[in-house]
């Protein structure tokens, strides 16, 4: 061993391994997952495209029907709705699970499989260093799955548009809200981030998938049920149900009695039961409401008007994006400090 008299000055840092090489690594190792995402989204997109074209042409013939008020046109419109609308609604229920499927199947194995099979001892001791390695993989896959699901949700919006134009559904309705705008993509990103951090924390692929799936579903459920309606103070109106072109998002209603206090539904039913037969047998619900109003029973509604749609989309997209970025940053930090 040669003794060196003076310590040599630190050599200039070698240029790091270029990102482009790590992009190839990411592609090579995750192409099966990406092919899976492509097959899933591509298959569904094909279905949406075919059905969407049918629905749009059907809708065009319904809107071009003259005179629009004629019973023939009404019948055609109803037949069109009955043909396609139930299927479209069933489909939305299924599509709600797509973000978590994509996110968890791409995100959870990313680190869990390395830890499970021990290959992290290979991957993390290469010249590029584990920090670059994990940042490239997370960033690239996050961008790919998020943009793919965003494009898919654009297609879905187009597919579903006739029903919104007909005023059959409200854009703030929980199912539709999560499938359109930026929400679908944001929930996909969150699923991916949850999968990634569960992977590094748990270190087992299947367990990480289950954990991130559960966390995502819980968060999604709580958001749709409790959190979303608090993004803005809801509107409260009395009288007939609030309505414009599309149904608003109504999530509360009650009656107040003659003294202004809230009364139970039981009381309201009792009052309505004393209404004359002409009112009780009327097919028009407003007749009952009018009868109740005459007896100083007022109906109140709590709702968000559909004009708040984009406001709500950006609030939810914003916090989902922030949460996802925090989770991804935490994942990088955990990889960096992880001592196996």
């Amino acid at each position: 061993m040669t003794a060196v008299a003076a310590p040599s000055p630190p050599a200039t840092r070698p240029r790091p391994v270029p990102w482009t090489k790590l992009v190839w690594v990411t592609w090579r190792q995750h192409r099966m997952a990406l092919v899976g995402v492509t097959v899933l989204l591509g298959g569904l997109a094909l279905y949406l495209l075919i059905m969407g074209l049918k629905i749009h042409s059907g809708y065009a013939s319904v809107t071009s029907c003259h005179p629009a008020r004629s019973s023939a046109c009404q019948l055609a419109s109803n037949l069109f709705t009955n043909d396609y609308h139930p299927t479209a609604q069933t489909l939305t229920g299924f599509l709600l699970a797509v973000p978590v499927l994509i996110g968890v199947f791409v995100g959870a194995p990313l680190l869990a499989r390395e830890l499970e099979t021990g290959t992290f001892r290979f991957a993390w001791t290469q010249g590029c260093g584990r920090l670059r390695w994990v940042i490239t993989k997370l960033a690239l896959l996050a961008i790919v799955v998020t943009s793919a699901s965003y494009m898919f949700s654009l297609l879905f919006s187009w597919y579903y548009q006739p029903w919104l134009a007909k005023g059959l559904d409200g854009v703030l309705a929980p199912q539709l809200f999560a499938l359109r705008g930026v929400d679908f993509a944001a929930w996909t990103l969150l699923a991916f981030a949850l999968g990634a951090i569960a992977g590094v924390l748990i270190g087992r692929t299947v367990a990480a998938m289950a954990a991130s799936l559960a966390a995502w579903a819980g968060l999604n459920f709580l958001t749709a049920l409790f959190l979303r309606k608090h993004y803005q103070a809801p509107l409260v109106v009395k009288g007939a149900s609030p309505s414009n072109t599309n149904p608003p998002w109504v999530f509360g209603q009650w009656y107040t009695g003659p003294n202004g206090a809230v009364v139970s539904q039981h009381t309201v039913r009792n009052v309505a039961a004393h209404a004359p037969a002409s009112v009780q047998n009327s097919h028009n619900l407003n007749a009952v409401t009018a009868y109740l109003a005459q007896h100083h029973y007022t109906q109140w509604w709590v709702y968000h008007p559909e004009s708040r749609y984009w406001h709500f989309q950006f609030i939810e997209g914003g916090w989902l994006l922030a949460l996802s970025l925090i989770l991804l940053a935490a994942t990088v930090w955990l990889v960096r400090r992880r001592a196996a």
Binding site: P16, R28, T125, G127, A340
Partner: protein
């Protein structure tokens, strides 16, 4: 320059110390084997040298004064982990391609030549290679990175570890040397005697277990602080097998009053 330098290095898992108070300096240009019974902390030490494990106490620096596990350090050190953990679903060729893209330097020709020599087909999936072939592939990948130093954790194969460190690694020569050190402790001991020449044996006390450091001298005389003495390998191995703690071999004669740990 020291390839690995530690002081007061310790690692605790829960209440158990895997390694405790290890003071060690492994100079470059030496082939060093680390021998010890199960649980002596060999793997822990090597994992700490490449940043896979963080020390509980003390510090460890590599290739001069680089942080263990930093890209600058890993650029010069190729690590071969126990059990050759490679991607089983990739083909050998893809494994080469992958490793090439994870490193700054890469010698594709040497890697391919070595695999050809070993009859390891490029188009076969890594998972379908035999265990020995996978170990050879892992070693080939490490050497094709043209590292200055190789740290190989071959415990499962050879029941001991080898740290191979030299100024410049020449693929063919280094592997031979590595394999020679390998076989000298696993194969017929007498046949390996000529490989041994001189071995300095250092032992360290740690929580009741003992780790030995076997050093095959390089061309230079032993560095300050190292005790070099001729010893036959048979003697060494037998002594080691008899009682790792009460070895008949010459131990370290530290000059300073360091109290414990692996000494250089």
């Amino acid at each position: 320059m020291n390839v690995i330098e530690t002081s007061g290095l310790g690692k605790r898992y829960g209440r158990t110390w895997a390694l405790k108070d290890a003071a060690l300096a492994i100079p470059a240009s030496y082939v060093v084997a680390l021998v010890g019974p199960n649980g002596a902390g060999k793997t822990t030490l090597l994992h700490m040298s490449v940043g896979l494990t963080t020390p509980t106490t003390g510090r460890i620096t590599v290739v001069g004064s680089e942080t263990a596990g930093s890209p600058a350090a890993l650029d010069q050190i190729a690590f071969v982990a126990q059990d050759a953990p490679l991607y089983k679903n990739l083909s050998t060729a893809d494994m080469l391609h992958l490793t090439r893209n994870l490193n700054r330097r890469w010698d594709q020709q040497r890697a391919e030549a070595r695999l050809k020599e070993l009859n390891i087909p490029l188009d076969r999936k890594v998972g379908r290679l035999s265990g020995g072939q996978q170990a050879q592939l892992a070693l080939t990948l490490a050497l094709a990175r043209r590292p200055s130093h190789v740290i190989a954790d071959l415990e499962r194969v050879a029941d001991y570890l080898i740290v191979l460190s030299r100024g410049q690694v020449q693929v063919a020569g280094e592997v031979e040397e590595l394999m020679a050190v390998h076989s000298m402790l696993t194969g017929p001991a007498a046949a390996a005697d000529d490989v041994t020449e001189r071995l300095a044996v250092v032992h360290a006390r740690r929580a009741g277990t003992v780790a030995h450091l076997l050093v095959r001298n390089g061309p230079d005389p032993a560095p300050p602080g190292w005790e070099a003495s001729p010893v036959s390998l048979e003697e060494l191995v037998l002594a080691y097998l008899r009682e790792p703690g009460a070895t008949a071999l010459p131990g370290p004669r530290p000059r300073a009053t360091q109290d414990s740990g692996i000494r250089a």
